[in-house]
């Protein structure tokens, strides 16, 4: 008699425990998506934070320095009170032009070679090694530009300054080669073999097949990779900070020392800039300019891929 009540009790207990377990599970099941959603929202908050930060501090900056001076004057000398961002933009564009002039032919040719000419085995070796280039910290590239590339260039070009746009631009270009090569190769690899075989069967050489069939078919991906490369070159910081100098110049002479948007931010953040000074706010105005440039490039790249993507 007693044992049955015990059993009855334990069964009751078990039912209760099961109920509790189910309740706990029910709560977890309903809480977890909420937690995951909060995590996902953090990435949105980061973007909002970036935008809010840049905008708020830039507004303070523009209450002290006029819009017209910032965007129309070419004299950037914040420590004496001149804030003309054109010279920083010119420096950034100069570096970007040199970088793309280096990276576009090298990256494109590498992509063509890896995707169309190389044997699978060669590609398996070369591609990862090329990608090591992308993993090297930019501070190391800066060191290399300053202590190796610049002396070589100086022996070739007499009168080249120690800090110059040419050396920094070349090295930035090398840095973005793997990115252009890898993305362009992906685009070319996505072109179906039937197209190649069709061209080859008509008697076209591999070169003709590549340039008349594969490249046109993959053009959107190739262009998008170059636009991304441009964006990367605009936002690159350490190479230009170390090797291009800190002389804001409205010049397109690559032999001169310049300053870019990014390297000014580094200078402003490390110098004796006190919180709340006009120079402090100018860092954000420059950051905003940089953000707008790179953001536009990233959107453009995504747009090109979406809009002109060929489906086979």
């Amino acid at each position: 008699m007693e044992s049955t009540t015990n059993q009855a009790k334990s069964v009751q207990l078990m039912i209760q425990q099961n109920k509790q377990k189910r309740n706990v599970r029910k709560t977890t099941e309903s809480l977890i998506p909420t937690f995951l959603l909060i995590s996902a929202v953090i990435s949105v908050l980061t973007t909002v934070g970036i935008f809010f930060t840049l905008l708020r501090e830039s507004i303070v900056f523009f209450s002290e320095v006029s819009f017209a001076e910032f965007f129309l004057s070419a004299h950037w000398s914040p420590w004496t009170g001149s804030f003309g961002v054109l010279s920083l933009i010119a420096g950034t564009l100069l570096i970007t032009l040199i970088a793309i002039a280096v990276a576009l032919p090298l990256g494109f040719a590498s992509a063509v070679y890896l995707s169309e000419y190389a044997t699978p085995r060669t590609r398996k070796v070369i591609k990862p090694v090329l990608e090591v280039l992308a993993g090297i910290p930019t501070v190391v590239y800066g060191f290399f530009a300053l202590t190796f590339v610049t002396p070589i260039l100086q022996s070739l070009i007499p009168g080249l300054l120690v800090f110059n746009a040419l050396s920094a631009g070349i090295v930035v270009g090398i840095m973005i080669v793997p990115m252009i090569a890898s993305l362009s190769e992906d685009a070319m690899n996505a072109v179906p073999n039937s197209l190649r075989e069709g061209a080859l069967a008509m008697g076209a050489t591999k070169l003709e097949t590549t340039f008349k069939v594969v490249v046109p078919a993959a053009l959107s991906g190739i262009v998008a990779s170059v636009v991304l490369g441009i964006s990367r070159a605009i936002g690159e910081t350490m190479i230009v900070t170390i090797a291009a100098g800190a002389s804001p110049n409205l010049t397109f002479n690559p032999l001169e020392s310049i300053q870019t948007l990014t390297s000014f931010i580094v200078q402003g953040a490390t110098g004796d800039t006190s919180f709340g000074s006009t120079i402090y706010y100018s860092i954000y105005a420059v950051g905003m300019t940089l953000f707008v440039f790179t953001f536009a490039m990233n959107l453009l790249s995504q747009y090109i891929v979406r809009k002109f993507k060929e489906d086979y």
Binding site: T46, L133, N298
Partner: protein
């Protein structure tokens, strides 16, 4: 007449074939330029830095003379920075990926988050520095501390981890999910016991690569105030700190040429650590990742 035409055709074909061959080698040479550059860079760093690389360099603090300068503060600073950054970024990144892949309805809001993550990946790292400076250093009053640096780094590598985790989760075939659900498992049980274990190699590979990028980042840390000269190892979340690339940068920009050798020694240490991390990532990918 006819034979003349065949001859010119043959000549043209020969020209096209030669051009094809010639340009093939040109493309190969262009590919090799990048590799040669890499080899030169490594050779240059090794020859510059190896003389200053010794046990004392690894175990002592900065000094006013290049011969006595040490890298310990930088190494330990980077280690602590990564110990804080890794869990924050991985938990947030995997959660975001799980939400997007497993829970989110395919609506405009989901697409917005997705596009936002992509755009965030393209924001220059120095802009993340400005975000950290405003929010963590000033607004939350953390100052130039380890935790402010780690939080900034976490946000910086978050998009990379989200994208890598999404790919890994997407690669888990639906059969497995359906089998689990068919056995009576709830949604979260399925995710926790089936989907996550299957996607761990991919997530781990992506996270290690993202972290190895963070270890080499200099610009955002400069902006959020990592110290260039420091004589201690951080002992709390709110301690001052430095990191390997910051110390290397501070040596590079000194005018005396001897400091270049010290910078070279620091770069060797940094590159060895990065290479090791990449090797681990590749090893995990090859060892554990299988296709279904």
């Amino acid at each position: 007449m006819a034979s003349k035409e065949t001859a010119s055709t043959a000549k043209r074909i020969k020209g096209r074939v030669t051009l094809n061959k010639g340009l093939k080698y040109l493309f190969l040479v262009a590919t090799l330029v990048g590799l040669v550059f890499l080899a030169l860079l490594i050779y240059r760093v090794l020859t510059q830095g190896i003389g200053y690389l010794n046990f004392d360099f690894l175990t002592s603090f900065p000094a006013p003379f290049p011969e006595e300068a040490g890298f310990l503060a930088g190494i330990m600073g980077s280690v602590f920075l990564m110990l804080l950054t890794a869990p924050i970024a991985v938990i947030l990144g995997v959660s975001t990926a799980l939400y997007l892949e497993e829970y989110a309805a395919k609506n405009r809001f989901t697409r917005f988050i997705q596009v936002n993550v992509q755009n965030l990946a393209g924001v220059p790292s120095i802009v993340f520095g400005l975000l950290g400076l405003t929010f963590f250093v000033y607004l939350f009053g953390m100052g130039y501390t380890l935790i402010a640096g780690a939080l900034t780094m976490s946000l910086l590598i978050l998009p990379v981890i989200v994208v890598a985790s999404q790919e890994a989760i997407r690669a888990v075939p639906n059969d497995l999910r359906e089998a689990s659900t068919g056995m009576g498992a709830s949604k979260w049980q399925t995710i926790w016991t089936i989907v996550l274990p299957a996607s761990v190699p991919g997530i781990l590979t992506g996270s290690i690569l993202a972290l190895s990028r963070a270890i080499g980042e200099t610009a955002p840390l400069i902006v959020v105030g990592a110290a260039t000269t420091i004589y201690s190892i951080p002992d709390s979340l709110f301690a001052n700190y430095t990191a390997m690339p910051i110390q290397i940068y501070s040596w590079i920009i000194r005018p005396q040429p001897e400091w270049q050798f010290v910078a070279g020694a620091g770069i060797i240490v940094l590159l060895v650590i990065l290479l090791a991390m990449n090797a681990i990532a590749v090893w995990i990918r090859n060892k554990f990742q299988h296709r279904y």
